[in-house]
């Protein structure tokens, strides 16, 4: 199969049961994408997936079969903001500035979910943020800071900063 990951094309032979998460972590050593529940309940494995001809969206990579991603393009945390200033997405800077990171295990998934939100809704309301982010669990309780960070990143992106 063909899969583009963070802009780099790859070709693999995948078994039918292999998940996108497993391909990213075990074959490509992109370990920023985390396994926590393995059944689409926690969001730690969230990545952005663009199938040919459609806009990119969040998927739980633990529930996504690799074979179903033929010719798709995947963005993982390692590729988020790689074309941006300093190689960072404004969300990454805002997450640091607002301390929206404690243990950091859910953080990659949170950032990709937030990036997808801002692509679709550049100025999200508090309610938009609640809906878009409630599929990504954080046990440390960074939620208040995540809200602040997303709001700030949205402002900065709106002003082209």
């Amino acid at each position: 199969m063909h899969l583009t990951v963070n802009g780099t094309p790859h070709e693999f032979e995948v078994a039918g049961h292999e998940t996108l998460l497993s391909v990213l972590r075990e074959r490509l050593s992109l370990t920023g994408t985390k396994l926590s529940c393995g059944r689409g309940e926690c969001g730690a494995c969230t990545v952005l997936l663009a199938s040919p001809g459609s806009a990119r969206r969040t998927v739980y990579s633990c529930l996504t079969l690799a074979a179903a991603c033929e010719s798709a393009s995947v963005t993982t945390i390692e590729g988020l903001g790689q074309d941006g200033p300093g190689g960072h997405h404004p969300l990454q800077d805002a997450f640091i500035a607002h301390d929206a990171v404690q243990c950091g295990f859910c953080t990659p998934g949170q950032l990709l979910a937030a990036a997808a939100l801002l692509e679709e809704t550049p100025s999200p309301s508090a309610s938009d943020i609640r809906v878009a982010m409630s599929g990504n669990l954080c046990r440390c309780g960074t939620y208040p800071k995540i809200v602040l960070a997303i709001q700030e990143a949205a402002r900065r992106m709106a002003h082209g900063a």
Binding site: C42, I96, G104, S134, N136, R139, G141, Y143, P144
Partner: protein
């Protein structure tokens, strides 16, 4: 060389006070007082490992890759109680990629939760019975599923009631209660005082078994090389894990190296070697290859510790004016198959001034996974009973709940009759109430009496209510803890200490302390943690201890390094060390000492360059705690809830938390800890409960879908802050612990707010919709809790 002095000191860990023999440091710096000018301590320095974490570069245990690494999977017991009659590995060995199995005979003598690893007597559903390892995680999982376990099942006892019933099946050979149960603690004469009390309230409470549910499950990667064992482990205690492994495998401590870089949360469940650690090590030994063993989510939820469920019967007697006469509490505590004795009783003895207190605790073994410390173990459970009964008393007496608590303010440690190093709970009450607008409650009139308060306070579907709670927690930390501070030739500084950052911010906070003490820019300082082979000892990161235990050792090491730096600089600047000062990584002659002198200064880098390979190295250790002094963190929390009386759903609308933890090293990171504790407390109050099938003894919700933790959609408006200051008696950096206190008050504050909203008390957590609806359904009945 100066001789070391050793003394005995008391250290409180997770509600347990221990006496330790510790060495007295050669010098201890004068305390940083509330007025000491500070450049780096007290600043919102961004979390130092945040960049690694937001870019996905932070390496967690499951991310460790070793050449030829194999993957392990655990075979678990399918029943709650019984015996293994046969394990057939035939099918597993046929799975392509399988390399080895690990059975009972391979792990003789390895103890786990006070029992033998892979014990063929099954004492809880999910107990590890065997393991397999394979070239991929998928093959390992398939092979584990192909292992056929034949069992003979027996009647089980998974609840407190079942385990205490006459003729109950035995969890342990010696009986279903711990050997020192019932544990009675009494001061004064509670029965006599109760007889003369003007008012008595009685309640019975239940708190659930709660699961830590860290995002990163337990896990280890083990590798043997020439008789040396290296283990990467997601742990709160690298040195504990090292000694566990040395004991289990008959190794010298020099043969075991435990490394912990980043970890995805612990919350008390990761305090030493776990079954997964032993399995990884044993399989690595058997196969000669590195082995990774990371729990899957179900394994994590059933076999990695939990908060003990409790039943608490509470009686409080008081005068008409609201002065407490006596507190009596009896509790049963569900341990599971093992663990330690986290005491819900302790807070009944500590929180309020009351001369007569008696608690009786019965620790009960059940056929479920062993308990483990979980953020403020004991106090979270006890605070629910105590603080809800205080509100019941307030209603009975028609006294404002905050006023009732103030009238019973403990100005010294009631349990041990000793002073507090510092206590500013009164400021927490005042500022918390102010920010919350608690006064507007009494503006509605006096606190409604018990009779008046029955029934909804307002018409309509959504009822609002307010409640509050008090918090205390022993958080003074203590020795032993060691640190080394070294200055590199370019003037940068390494802080070396064998502590752990669980996501708490320890790396950042310890670097700030070192930077402040030595006078460096924070950008020039980094903290190196989490390696038993290369770093000096500190204890586990538990009991809200790290800052108060390790912080003073780091400060002392930095002061020691500074003294040496000044010796070197005094030669270079031709000035005595007494006139030197260091700020922003520059040593200069203090202006006050040599006014209008031409600027003579040298940066750390310039000094380092001139010194070349001569290293500035400072050592520090944590000194003893002050004698006969209680060191506690305090807090007051205020919740506003909205209850949907049609669906029974409770929503926390607003939460204000005022905390006293002495000096705050980094206000933003500290605020994150408070918010995190409050959110976990909201989960404990509203959603979290391990559910077992009573008939089968099997866990019904070992997933993150069915075991509900708060999501962002559950987030209330939170205002969490500290009263500012420094506890100069507790230790010379003035800081006490702060991570555990915020979870303690959340559930009672929320439950009290719900009672205020719907006019009826709910005495069992979590406050699920059906419990709320059941409570509302009995509204028409005569008074009394449900």
């Amino acid at each position: 060389m100066a001789r070391k002095r050793f003394v005995s000191t008391k250290v409180e860990v997770e509600g347990r006070e221990e006496t330790r023999i510790v060495e007295v440091p050669e010098f201890e710096p004068a305390p940083w007082t509330a007025d000491t000018p500070m450049d780096v301590v007290g600043q919102c320095v961004p979390r130092m490992d945040a960049l690694e974490k937001v870019t996905g570069q932070a390496i967690f245990t499951a991310d460790v890759r070793r050449t030829g690494m194999l993957h392990a999977h655990i075979v678990r017991a399918p029943i709650a109680h019984g015996t293994v009659t046969n394990i057939d590995f035939g099918g597993a060995l046929e799975v392509p990629g399988v390399r080895a199995v690990l059975a009972r005979e391979d792990v003789e003598g390895i103890r786990y939760d006070s029992g033998q690893l892979f014990d063929q007597t099954i004492r809880f559903a999910g107990q590890p019975l065997a393991a397999v390892c394979a070239e991929t995680p998928e093959a390992a999982a398939r092979a584990a599923n192909a292992v056929i376990v034949r069992v003979e099942s027996k009647t089980h006892a998974v609840s407190i009631e079942a385990a205490l019933a006459p003729g109950a099946p035995l969890v342990r050979a010696k009986g279903n209660t711990s050997k020192h149960s019932p544990r009675v603690m009494e001061r004064g004469d509670a029965d006599a005082a109760m007889r003369t009390a003007d008012v008595i309230v009685r309640r019975e409470y239940r708190t659930p078994t709660a699961l830590h549910t860290a995002m990163e499950p337990h896990g280890a990667v083990a590798e043997w090389s020439g008789g040396q064992l290296t283990v990467w482990e997601s742990t709160q205690g690298i040195f504990n894990t090292r000694s566990d492994l040395a004991t289990a495998f008959g190794l010298k401590l020099t043969q075991v190296r435990v490394i912990k870089d980043h970890m995805g949360g612990g919350f008390g469940a990761k305090n030493g070697a776990h079954a997964s650690t032993y399995i990884a090590v044993a399989l690595a030994h058997k196969t000669g290859a590195p082995v990774r063993c990371v729990l899957d989510r179900e394994g994590e939820q059933v076999d990695s510790g939990n908060r003990s469920a409790t039943i608490q019967r509470v009686t409080i007697g008081a005068t008409r004016e609201g002065t407490l006469s006596a507190i009596v509490a009896d509790a049963e505590i569900a341990m599971g198959v093992g663990g330690w004795f986290a005491s819900p009783a302790k807070i009944y003895h500590e929180m309020y001034a009351c001369p007569n207190v008696r608690t009786t605790e019965t620790f009960v073994y059940t056929h479920t996974g062993a308990m483990a410390s979980f953020r403020a173990p004991g106090h979270v459970e006890g605070a629910f009973g105590l603080e809800c009964t205080m509100d019941a008393l307030a209603r009975e007496l028609a006294i404002d709940p905050l006023e009732l608590r103030r009238r019973n303010y403990a100005d010294h440690d009631q349990e041990k009759s000793r002073p507090y190093s510092e206590k500013r709970l009164d400021e927490c009450y005042r500022l918390g109430a102010e920010r919350f607008g608690w006064k507007s409650l009494s503006a509605l009139g006096s606190w409604p009496s018990a009779a008046e308060s029955r029934g909804p306070r307002a018409e309509g579907r959504f009822k609002r209510g307010r409640g509050m709670s008090s918090i205390c927690w022993g958080a003074g930390g203590g020795p032993p803890a060691y640190a080394t501070v070294r200055m590199n030739p370019d003037g940068t500084i390494d802080v070396l200490t064998g502590s752990q950052d669980l996501g708490t911010g320890a790396r950042t906070v310890l670097a700030q302390i070192a930077a402040e003490a030595i006078g460096a820019n924070i950008q020039d300082v980094r903290t190196v943690l989490g390696d038993t082979e290369r770093l000096p000892y500190t204890s586990n990161s538990w009991g809200s201890q790290t800052t108060a235990s390790v912080g003073p050792a780091v400060r002392m090491a930095a002061e020691d390094a500074k003294a040496k730096l000044f010796e070197a600089a005094s030669q270079m600047l031709d000035a005595s060390t007494e006139v030197l000062e260091a700020r922003s990584s520059v040593v200069r002659i203090a202006e006050s000492r040599e006014p209008r002198a031409e600027s003579r200064e040298l940066s750390f880098a310039e000094i380092g360059e001139r010194l070349g390979d001569i290293m500035i190295l400072g050592h520090g250790s944590r000194g003893p705690n002050p004698d006969k002094t209680a060191m506690c963190a305090f807090g007051a929390q205020f919740a506003e809830v909205e209850v949907d009386v049609e669906t029974g759903r409770v929503r926390v609308v607003r939460f204000v938390a005022a905390h006293d933890s002495g000096r705050i090293i980094n206000p933003r990171l500290a605020e994150s800890q408070l918010e995190g504790g409050i959110l976990q407390g909201i989960g404990f109050a509203l959603f979290e409960e391990r559910v077992l099938d009573a008939a089968l003894g099997l866990p019904l919700n070992p997933t993150m879908h069915d075991y509900k933790i708060p999501t962002l959609a559950d987030l209330p408006e939170i205002e969490a802050f500290f009263v500012t200051g420094a506890d100069t008696v507790a230790n010379h950096i003035g800081a006490k612990g702060l991570a555990e206190p915020p979870i303690i008050g959340a559930a009672p504050a929320i439950a009290n707010a719900v009672a205020d909203a719907i006019g009826v008390e709910i005495t069992e957590l979590p406050l699920t919709p059906w419990r709320v609806l059941a409570a509302i359904a009995v509204l028409g009945r005569p008074s009394g809790p449900v």
